[in-house]
Amino acid sequence: MVRVAHIHMSGCTGCLISLTDTYEKLLDILGAVELVYALTLADEKTEITETDDKILIERKIPENIDIALVEGSVCLDDHHSVEDILTTRKNSKIVVALGACAASGGVTRFGRGGQMSQPSHSSFVPIGDVIKVDLALPGCPPSTESIVNLIMAALNGDMDYLEPFAEIAKYGKDACGCDVIKNVIDQSLCMGCGTCAAACQVKAIEMIEGKPNIMTEFCIKCGICGAQCPRVRFPELVQKIE
């Protein structure tokens, strides 16, 4: 059995909700994997340490993880957070940055400290700034279908399908609506299909005169617009229709 873990960093649990939202498909996935660690979905694996003055009960990231789905960004001001992500990398064969916060920082890029509930936490970075990431799936949250597709492709070793996610893991950390301006419009590649506007999950893109207009004040830097654009990346397997 393939050992899968869902690791929760600084995120809103939306990606986990999207994962569970697979309903009957989730059963297919769970039938094919052993879920060794996940909030609410799997029993906690705790370690109890007793000292003279206290009893410590800790949630431990398990060893020998095949696929680690990491949600949320790393809070550099929280040593638990940093340790957890380092342990995740050490214990996992494939690390997947699941969703915008893990892949590019997402909305947590705007965290600036002084806020409830932990005022001293001010610095949040995508997990790729701390560890090497194998696959990154953008989206806030990524769609249920794309999570299923990614997990099934990983289980089947379908590297052709996974290739774009490997690329995002490599180059996608500075994701922003301006990717579409820099990589598509400025390069005279935009033909005005409107996929970016439809993909944007915070409605930060409107189409004006057949071209995307990025409203930067709404952009949460998830990178979905650039990732979904057919004019940057058009994987060969998309050509196959039946």
Partner: protein, 282 residues
């Protein structure tokens, strides 16, 4: 070079409904398919390129045959049809969406169906992907320059535009017909069209365009099992009148000629861009 992409069958056809033919560009295939789908429960909503004031185009979600008909006809300017796809599913709660696009838009749709990262519960709602033959497109201001400066017709007076016989035709509401030689229009083309290697919407379920068929008829490529089933239902119901493509003039040879013309020209542009170190779609 493969001119058409994979397809199951090619036919020549036109809508049997006179009301559709009166409004449509050529054989009325897109309008007839949409209307047939809406009336027979195969589709519960469709995305069309609608015309607004000043012959501007904008995508619109249509749920009635009347709305489909009022948007019939080719626009030759950009209508970001994919941009309203998610709205069709979310705001209109559609379960079976028909979408039509230029070849590049059809490619965008196929990519989002295979990689639906930001399209939660959307890709499974796409019931029919229709594609239209396309050589290139014009930005709105580009088309305005052609229509107003070259043809001398105000955008608000435009009834219909057409490309055929080497000319860009403009029909005004008051009955004027003006033609602009295509060579004068090239400079107004959308430059991103020049890296496109698809003339016949190779990834659609059903692709259609006027080229290859006689006036008032359209050429159709049926490409997928879904498209085949859909089209057969329409033909059986008498919504389309068809002829074997081999029996019509000018036939597939002309489609092939134009498809290869586009591919060869744009392949050179892609090579040229690469030589200059510029990115191309990959």
């Amino acid at each position: 070079m493969d001119p058409f992409g994979t397809y199951k069958t090619a036919i020549s056809a036109r809508a049997t409904d006179k009301a559709i033919l009166k409004k449509s560009q050529d054989g009325g295939i897109i309008s007839a398919s949409y209307i047939y789908g809406l009336e027979n429960g195969l589709l519960d909503g469709v995305i069309v390129a609608n015309t607004e004031d000043g012959f501007k185009t904008a995508p619109k979600i249509a749920t009635t045959p009347e709305e489909v008909l009022s948007a019939a006809g080719t626009k030759y300017t950009v209508s970001p049809n994919v941009s309203v796809l998610k709205d069709a599913v979310r705001e209109y709660a559609l379960e079976k969406v028909g979408i039509v696009g230029t070849p590049c838009q059809v490619r965008a749709i196929r990519k989002l169906m295979k990689y639906p990262m930001g399209f939660r519960h959307t890709d499974s709602k796409i019931a029919l992907v229709m594609g239209i033959f396309c050589m290139e497109n014009f930005p709105y201001e580009g088309m305005k320059a052609i229509v107003e400066q070259y043809a001398g017709i105000r955008m608000n007076d435009v009834l219909k535009t057409d490309i055929g016989k080497g000319k860009f035709w403009v029909y005004s509401k008051s009955g004027d017909v003006k033609a602009v030689p295509l060579k004068d229009t090239h400079m107004y083309e959308q430059k991103s069209c020049h890296v496109c290697m698809d003339y016949t919407a190779e990834l659609a379920d059903i692709s259609t365009g006027s080229v290859g068929s006689p006036d008032g008829w359209s050429t159709i490529f049926v490409r997928t099992a879904k498209g085949e089933e859909y089209l057969n239902k329409m033909i059986d119901a008498g919504a389309l009148e068809t002829k074997p493509i081999e029996d019509v003039k000018p036939g597939l040879d002309l489609v092939q000629k134009l498809a290869l013309q586009k591919k060869e020209k744009n392949d050179k542009e892609i090579v040229h861009r690469k030589e200059m170190g510029l990115p191309v779609p990959y």
